[in-house]
Subunit: 70 residues, 2 copies
């Protein structure tokens, strides 16, 4: 299992957090998704070989948020 | 039909707007609910005698927001 911290712009409230966490959790290979609103960061535990980091970023973008890094 | 403008604190994004508009529209006597995020205001068209203004305010509070006025 790997963990990635993704810096995200535009997460403003608990609804945003739920939307991103729920959206990521639906992806195969994602074991945990946690939004830190204050830290503007999403932490995701995922299975390497099952899902790529790019897929995580794309999902967050598709939900309407901007990726700062990576 | 009457229209009321309610000043609300804590509406930060489109999800908040949807939550408030959807919650108000479910109430009997509410014909239209519109959130102006920038103006921090909710405009509601409602039928007097069917629903009271206090019920509108209470609903917004129950959804987790703070009423500024009235």
């Amino acid at each position: 299992m790997s963990t990635i911290h993704i810096r995200v712009k535009g997460m403003s409230c608990g609804h945003c957090a739920s939307s991103i966490e729920g959206g990521l959790m639906k992806l195969e290979g994602v074991m945990r998704a946690n939004v830190d609103l204050a830290g503007k960061e999403v932490t995701v535990d995922y299975e390497e070989g099952v899902i790529h980091v790019e897929t995580l970023s794309r999902k967050i973008k598709d939900l309407g948020y901007e990726i700062v890094s990576p």
